[in-house]
Subunit: 110 residues, 2 copies
Amino acid sequence: MDDKLDAIFSALADPTRRAILARLATGKATVAELADPFELSQPAISKHLKVLEQAGLIRSGREANARPRVLEPAALKTIADWIADYRRFWDQSFDRLDDYLSKVQGYEND
Amino acid sequence: MDDKLDAIFSALADPTRRAILARLATGKATVAELADPFELSQPAISKHLKVLEQAGLIRSGREANARPRVLEPAALKTIADWIADYRRFWDQSFDRLDDYLSKVQGYEND
DNA sequence: TAGCTATATAGCCAAATGGTGATATATGGA
DNA sequence: TCCATATATCACCATTTGGCTATATAGCTA
């Protein structure tokens, strides 16, 4: 699991890769579409995509001769869960809010 | 701000540095105390601490000839905020919960 | 002041990272 | 079948990273 965190955090430590994720947050995109905003070669983008995919942050599909990418949210949740352990350090109301929510009956998690 | 995210994510992409943060979550610690659990040289630990400090994740103090480190939660909040933009992708109840909370009068943020 | 302790810094090295241009591969269409 | 398009992979290079040992620096204590 430590290896997984290594891969995810290090994948996110690059602004190009974060921009790619932001683009994928608006929906599926081909490599060419993902490369378009950047002044980088196509192989450079493919390398970034491989890093993101190996970290589990995206997935590849197949449509004709294109290989569209989609966001894979589970990896983001992994680090969100990691960071949640530190939330009490910056959010003083967190403990009480959490406690409050655990007693509320009006919301569901289906 | 992109530079800040680069520095924070890349600082977190190392298990030694994450372990150091976990230790600091239990309170202030000297370099020697932080180095103790690892089979690494003291300079290696000092390097890791420098990376964490430059990312804003920790701060140095001064006590006699020791330089204790403390957690600096703001940097963690920075990436928590970044990741929150993606929360809707994995947490289907998030939008509704958020909506629900905005209507609730029973909790405060003081 | 001399020496001990805590930590930082310097200089070095191997491996990983991020970029390049050139080329290989897979699919669909003429 | 031949070609165009989309993407991956290869070989290379410069820079960064993470480790080491040796040494410097700062504060305490005798």
